[in-house]
Each structure stands twice: as structure tokens, then as C-alpha cells.
């Protein structure tokens, strides 16, 4: 058995509720939440979709670290402390000597709670949209595909791997205090389009101007928390540093 200790909220009521879950080999935190919701308490709510760590729906704070619930094995969670009472958002965990039978599950930080583990993602989506996250191709669309060398394709791939799960946003100390800060995901996205040789120069410069601000790349404290929690190895801080260099070069 494993105990899920879930932070629950409905309007102004906030409480922690414990669920005794019968675990089995290979079970994930998301599956444990389903066990609780289906068998113990149908009022519990949380987001989910793919259960395979590709859709980015089930972002939450697990033992005080922003993670995808579908990706975390219960067997692994037994080997770490819950960090209950630690008010900081952590990025790594220690190992415990003896099995820990409790997992602490809380909503993703830096976004308003709607109910239980469901948070309001709109501010996050809106910040991403502010950097104009789409390709504006050069004029003269080729009849066939644009040619692209493999190295460039691979460089872009690191950033197109982003699933917009917002774990980076939830870990970011700047996003915690500045609601205007575009945040790691949006800035990584800005770099993804800057890297793309298909993008026209005017739009590149326009986007560079958007992120050349305290709400943009200059707001980052370069603490690399986003890099540590990213489930897709996107490395937003590296993107932010690259964007800073491009802006400096221009001036």
C-alpha cells in the first residue's frame, strides 16, 4: 500500500487528504490518482490525457518537485522523502534509506488553482502566445520543401520537443513573482523560431525585440531550475542565453 497525500482545494477551502492506494509493479502516480478517484473518492479531480509523457497535461508538484504524474513510478517515489513542510519548489530529491510510503501531491505552482490539482493554464498559454509562436515564412514559397541541413534540423529539434507542460513555469522563481515574465517555455519557443532558417528576417527581429525586456530574456535569474525539471530536455536557460547574445550582438 502507498499513501497519496493530496492537496485539495474547492473555492476557499484548502485541505490535505490521504488516500490508501493498493499499488502494483509499474504503477505511476497518475495511475494511483485514478485508483483514488475511481475507487475511493470520485470528487477528486486532476488533468490527464496521454499517460505516456508526451501530451503535457498532468503537470503537478510531486514531493515538492514539478513533474508529470504519468511519468513517475510509485516504486521510485518510495525511495525519496516527501519534503513536506518545505515551502520551496525543489528540483531534485534526496534518497531515503528506508521505504517511504507517502507521496505528496500538490497542484503546479505559479498558477491559480481551479479545483484540487487542476490549475488555470490560461496565463501560461497567453504568455507563450505573446512571443508570436508561429513560423512566418520568407516570401517566395518554394514549390517543394525548404532545404534544411541536418545539423540545423537537430538544433531546432531540441526546442520543438517542448510539450508546453508548464513544469518549467511552475519551477521558475521569476515567474513566481512576476506575472508579466514570459517564462522559460515562451522564451525557448522564441529561440526555436530564431534558429529556423525558414523564418523571415523581419519577424526574427520583431520577436527579438519582444523578448528584449525585463519581461523577456533580461528577467531570467539564470538559476537553471527550468532545465532541471524539463521532462523533454529542452534547456530553456540555454535558449535565453543565446537570445541575450543575439540582442547584444545587434546593439
Amino acid at each position: 500500500m502507498i499513501t497519496l497525500k493530496v492537496k485539495r482545494q474547492e473555492e476557499d477551502n484548502v485541505w490535505y487528504q490521504e488516500y490508501e492506494v493498493e499499488d502494483r509493479p509499474g504503477m505511476t502516480v497518475l495511475e494511483a490518482l485514478f485508483y483514488a478517484q475511481e475507487k475511493l473518492d470520485t470528487s477528486l479531480t486532476f488533468r490527464y490525457a496521454c499517460r505516456g509523457a508526451v501530451c503535457g497535461s498532468c503537470s503537478m508538484l510531486i514531493n515538492r518537485i514539478p513533474r508529470l504524474a504519468c511519468k513517475m513510478q510509485i516504486s521510485e517515489m518510495r525511495k525519496e522523502p516527501t519534503n513536506e513542510g518545505n515551502l520551496e519548489v525543489l528540483i531534485t530529491n534526496k534518497r531515503t534509506e528506508i521505504d517511504n510510503n507517502v507521496i505528496l501531491v500538490e497542484p503546479l505552482p505559479n498558477l491559480r488553482v481551479i479545483r484540487d490539482l487542476v490549475v488555470d493554464m490560461e496565463p501560461f498559454y497567453s504568455l507563450v502566445e505573446d512571443i508570436k509562436p508561429w513560423l512566418e515564412m520568407k516570401e517566395n514559397v518554394p514549390e517543394k520543401e525548404n532545404l534544411m541541413d541536418r545539423d540545423t534540423q537537430v538544433k531546432i529539434e531540441q526546442y520543438t520537443n517542448c510539450i508546453l507542460c508548464a513544469l518549467c513555469h511552475g519551477s521558475c522563481p521569476v515567474a513566481a513573482k512576476d506575472k508579466q515574465y514570459y517564462g522559460p517555455a515562451a522564451l525557448a519557443k522564441a529561440w526555436r523560431f530564431y534558429l529556423d532558417p525558414r523564418e523571415n528576417e523581419e519577424t526574427k527581429q520583431e520577436r527579438l525585440a519582444i523578448v528584449d525586456s525585463e519581461s523577456g530574456v533580461w528577467g531570467c535569474d539564470t538559476v537553471y531550475k527550468c532545465v532541471a525539471v524539463c521532462p523533454k530536455k529542452v534547456a530553456p536557460t540555454l535558449a535565453i542565453n543565446e537570445l541575450r547574445n543575439r540582442i547584444k550582438d545587434k546593439k
Binding site: 509499474g26 478517484q37 475511481e38 509523457a53 501530451c55 503535457g56
Partner: protein
């Protein structure tokens, strides 16, 4: 009442592509989706999208492979459209920013896929669906197309054989609202979660298909369910056909490449129905591993190529099975993957009701027939998503605004349905759902026979009775999962019923529908599409002809 010229239900690839087309034709369009579009199951597609881009390849060759793969049940006129338009749609995605993998010369890379005579599957590593989905979503964002995120449509409103909109529930507050529209496009994906073992996302319950069914639209060829040969042991997460396309081998417990006994020429790259059956037979006859799996070995491909072309499945294998495919074979077993059947619709996504369209996996157009080839479903979404958009943009000019009164009546009736579903009961969603999934897995699976199918239908009828007394006790208005589940359960049972009954009546083996008591394909009696109509007593089955133009049916050998 919310009014748009057109509404698109579903925010995956088909829905997004349709919405872009409508917007670009100057039509007011909104998307309604129960999850934000980027969470859609399209994003889980791995291996690629087919198009005859190569100098030596042709749309005719792509069409032939598709039709042969379909076991001659696909309509050949729609396959022609699919394969002819493929290169344009793929190039369009490249122009919209999809980061396709490249060849040395900078052109889009293509890999071999099952049942294809040419390497024609374009890919972005093994995250092709993810890349396409985000590119299309970016284009939707650029166009500022309105998206009603996290709304569940509960009913389509039909007036005199014309769809005039839908009733939907906002998941943020559980309130019902009317969406009035001159045209409605369904793009809601598949129903994999009615099976115990499925590659599908947890949200894939076929709800959109059941909306059309309950509105009187026939469902076509529902008995044709694709089982993917290689899903990860335990979670059944997809392990792309691309792993075999890149040279992966399948081994049984005696380390024998058993595919030589089933498809001596194509081996691991035979079509999915054949490979899935072969694996299942190995397991059933005791040559699989005790937990019920075989091994997919890509270790010989080497770390460099795996990191370059299959990084996603490497990560999935590590995270969900504790196996690094660079070092060890991946444990795999067949699992439900795709629905060849769906809402009956034509080359422009038109259903028998005016103003109602269906595209993508929720539809049956029918380009996949009895067995879909890998790489053709992503293609299907963008080809027919666009075509439905073009058709709907013209269609809406021919009709007046819909009748408000009928929409308001439908809203009141839905409100009543929801209020009646609230309360306490002995029944549990989890028990009914689990029982349904077990039943479908055991009795309507890879190998089928009369006794099991009869048992399946009886069981589904029992569960339908149980489901009628299921009530929802959670009163919370925000994200009431219990309510959402209860609403969707009825549709899951509806679809299961059409699948099991269609499979019971079709006494032949064709593509993914394999009857151990009727081993041969029977063109004389069964070269026809099944149509299932809703009646309160269960589905009523009718049949219609298959369109054959160029390729006369012959025995399928690989």
C-alpha cells in the same frame, strides 16, 4: 447561445486543419475541444506521414499499397484522393514549420513502413504527430481562431436531416450551452479506451462518434479495429512501426525471427494486421515470454541511429519498462491502436446529414478499409480535414440561419438528462468500464469466433442495463470527473455494441477482422461496408457496396 458560422468539434490534427481552411476561406469558425488542442492524441503519433515525394515513387503506387493493405475494403476513389493530395499536404506542413527529419541533401527524409513498396513515410524523428500538431496549433494561434478549450459536446442538434449545432458543457463550471452553427465538423478521434490494452490516450473514448450515432447517423465498418503489433508490455504505450522500419527484428522466446513463418518476403514490415496476428499466435502457442510478450530488438541499429531517429521510444522504454533499447530488446505485445471504422462520410467528409461532417479517425471515408497502413492516418487527417473545410465553406452559403427553438428545446432536454443523472446508486463507473474493457479485449480482439462474439454482445447488453442506473454523486461544478465519465460511458457502450455485433455477423476474415471459424476472405458475400444505425434495442445493420475502380481484388500476400 453561442453562434458561429461553423464549429469544429475536436482539436487534433483533423480539426485544426479543417479550422484553418475555413478561416482562410473567410468563414467564422470556432473549435470546441474537451482538452486544449495540444493535448490531443494526434500528438502521440510517432512514425510518420506517407507521401510519394520520391522520384521513383508515385501516387498510384501509394494507392495500390493502401488498397492491398486494406484487404480491398477501402473505397478506391477516396484512396486516389488521399494519395494524390498527399505530397501537397506534407509540403504545406513543411512550409508551416514542421521540423521534418532530413536527408543529406536537405530534403525531407522518408523511411520504410509496413505494407509499403517504397520508403514513403516522412517523419520528424519518432515524434511526427507531436511536431505536426504543434505546427498546426501555431498556425491556428496565428490566425486567432477561437478555441473553446475544455468543453464537452453532449449532443448534436439535427433539424429535418440538417445539423444546426450542438449542446456542450463547459468543464470549468459544468454549465450547458447552445452552439448554433450552419455547419458542424466532427474531428474527435478514436475509441481505444473501450479495450483493456490500447495505445490510445486515456481521453479516447469515442464520444464524438457516439454523438453522431445517437443523432441517427450510421457508423461504418466498426468491426475493423486495428491492433498495433508492438505496444510496450504493461502500459501498452505505442512503440512505433518505425522501429521495424529502421531495421528492428521481432524475436520469440527461442530467439527465432518468427515472422519468416508468416510473411517470408516482408518479414517484420508486413502490414499491421498480419504482424499483430503473428505475434499473438506466437504468444498463444507458447512461444512468447511467460508474461505474454515477444521481443523487439533494435540493439544492432546502434546508439547513434537510435538517438537520431528513435529517441522518443528509447525514452518511453526507459521510463515505462525500465529497458534501454540501446542495450536490450523491448518487450512488446499487440494492443488496440486505431479504428478503421467510424462515422460514415464521403470524400469531403460529408455525412448523410446536411451540414454535419466527420473527418480523421472518428470518420470512415473509407480510405483504410479493413486494415490501415502505418503513416496513412496522419495523412488522412490533413487531407480530409482540409477538404471538409473547403466543402463546408461553400455549403454554409446555401442555408439560412438555424431555428433557435429547436436548439433551445435540445438544451432543455440535455439539462434534464444531466439533472437526472445526479444522485446515488449501487453502480460504479469504474466497474462497468473495467468490465467492458475486459470483455472487448477477450472476446472482440485479434482472433475472433462466434461463441466469443455472442458472449461479448450479451455482456454489453448487461452493462447497458447497469449503466442506465449509474448516478453521479459528486456535486462539484468545476472539473467534475465523475460526471464527465458518466456522460461518456453511454457512448463507449454504444460503440462496443456496434463493433461486437458487426464482427459477429461478418462471417469472413478480412484485414484486421479475423474469424478463426471463417478463415478466408469471402468477396462473394462480404465485399461490402457495414452500416450500423442506432435503435433503442441495439444497432441495426445494413450494408453498402465498396467502390472499386482500378485494382481488382486478389489474394493478399506479403
Amino acid at each position: 447561445m453561442i453562434t458561429h458560422d461553423t464549429i469544429v468539434i475536436g482539436g487534433g490534427l483533423s480539426g485544426l486543419r479543417a479550422a484553418i481552411e475555413l478561416h482562410d476561406k473567410g468563414v467564422d469558425v470556432a473549435i470546441i475541444s474537451k482538452v486544449p488542442p495540444i493535448r490531443s492524441h494526434s500528438g502521440a503519433a510517432q512514425g510518420g506521414i506517407n507521401a510519394s515525394l520520391g522520384m521513383d515513387d508515385s501516387w498510384e503506387s501509394h494507392a495500390y499499397d493502401t488498397i492491398k493493405g486494406s484487404d480491398y475494403l477501402a473505397d478506391q476513389d477516396t484512396v486516389e484522393i488521399l494519395t494524390k493530395e498527399a505530397p501537397d499536404r506534407v509540403l504545406e506542413m513543411e512550409h508551416w514549420g514542421t521540423n521534418f527529419s532530413r536527408k543529406e541533401d536537405g530534403t525531407i527524409a522518408q523511411r520504410p513502413f509496413g505494407g509499403a513498396g517504397f520508403p514513403r513515410t516522412c517523419y520528424a524523428g519518432d515524434r511526427t504527430g507531436h511536431n505536426l500538431l504543434h505546427s498546426l496549433h501555431e498556425q491556428v494561434t496565428k490566425r486567432n481562431i477561437k478555441v473553446y478549450k475544455e468543453w464537452l459536446v453532449t449532443r448534436l442538434v439535427i433539424d429535418d436531416n440538417r445539423c444546426i449545432g450542438a449542446i456542450a458543457m463547459n468543464l470549468f463550471d459544468s454549465e450547458l450551452e447552445i452552439f448554433k452553427a450552419k455547419a458542424t465538423l466532427l474531428a474527435t478521434g478514436g475509441y481505444g479506451r473501450i479495450y483493456k490494452r490500447s495505445t490510445n490516450a486515456l481521453i479516447n473514448k469515442g464520444h464524438g462518434i457516439s454523438l453522431a450515432y445517437r443523432a441517427g447517423i450510421p457508423l461504418q465498418d466498426m468491426e475493423f479495429v486495428q491492433f498495433h503489433p508492438t505496444t510496450l508490455l504493461g502500459t501498452n504505450i505505442l512503440i512505433t512501426e518505425g522501429a521495424r522500419g529502421e531495421g528492428g527484428y521481432l524475436y520469440n522466446k527461442d530467439h527465432e525471427r518468427f515472422m519468416k513463418r508468416y510473411a517470408e518476403n516482408s518479414m517484420e514490415l508486413a502490414p499491421r494486421d498480419i504482424v499483430a496476428r503473428s505475434i499473438q499466435q506466437e504468444i498463444d502457442e507458447g512461444r512468447g515470454f511467460p508474461e505474454g510478450y515477444v521481443e523487439l530488438d533494435i540493439t544492432h541499429i546502434g546508439k547513434k541511429l537510435i538517438e537520431e531517429r528513435l529517441p522518443g521510444i528509447r525514452q518511453i522504454s526507459i521510463d515505462f519498462a525500465g529497458v534501454d533499447p540501446v542495450e536490450k530488446p523491448i518487450p512488446v505485445q499487440p494492443g488496440q491502436h486505431y479504428s478503421m471504422g467510424g462515422v460514415s462520410s464521403d470524400k469531403d467528409g460529408c455525412t448523410p446529414a446536411n451540414g454535419l461532417y466527420a473527418v480523421g479517425e472518428c470518420a470512415c471515408i473509407s480510405v483504410h478499409g479493413a486494415n490501415r497502413l502505418g503513416g496513412n492516418s496522419l495523412l488522412d487527417t490533413v487531407v480530409f480535414g482540409r477538404r471538409a473545410g473547403v466543402h463546408a465553406a461553400n455549403y454554409i452559403n446555401t442555408f439560412d440561419a438555424p431555428n433557435d427553438e429547436i436548439l433551445e428545446d435540445a438544451l432543455e432536454s440535455e439539462k434534464k438528462n444531466i439533472s437526472e443523472i445526479m444522485g446515488d446508486s449501487e453502480e460504479s463507473y469504474a466497474d462497468i468500464k473495467d468490465s467492458l474493457r475486459k470483455n472487448m479485449q477477450e472476446n472482440v480482439g485479434v482472433f475472433r469466433e462466434r461463441d466469443k462474439l455472442e458472449k461479448a454482445v450479451v455482456k454489453i447488453k448487461e452493462l447497458e442495463v447497469q449503466a442506465r442506473s449509474l448516478r453521479v454523486k459528486t456535486l462539484s461544478k468545476q472539473f467534475n470527473l465523475e460526471l464527465l465519465n458518466a456522460i461518456e460511458l453511454k457512448g463507449m457502450l454504444d460503440l462496443a455494441h456496434t463493433i461486437a455485433l458487426g464482427a459477429l455477423v461478418r462471417e469472413e476474415s478480412r484485414g484486421a477482422h479475423y474469424r478463426t471459424d471463417h478463415l478466408e476472405r469471402d468477396d462473394a458475400n462480404w465485399m461490402k461496408h457495414t452500416l450500423a444505425y442506432f435503435t433503442p434495442d441495439g444497432p441495426r445493420l445494413e450494408y453498402k457496396d465498396v467502390t472499386i475502380t482500378t485494382f481488382q481484388p486478389k489474394k493478399r500476400e506479403y
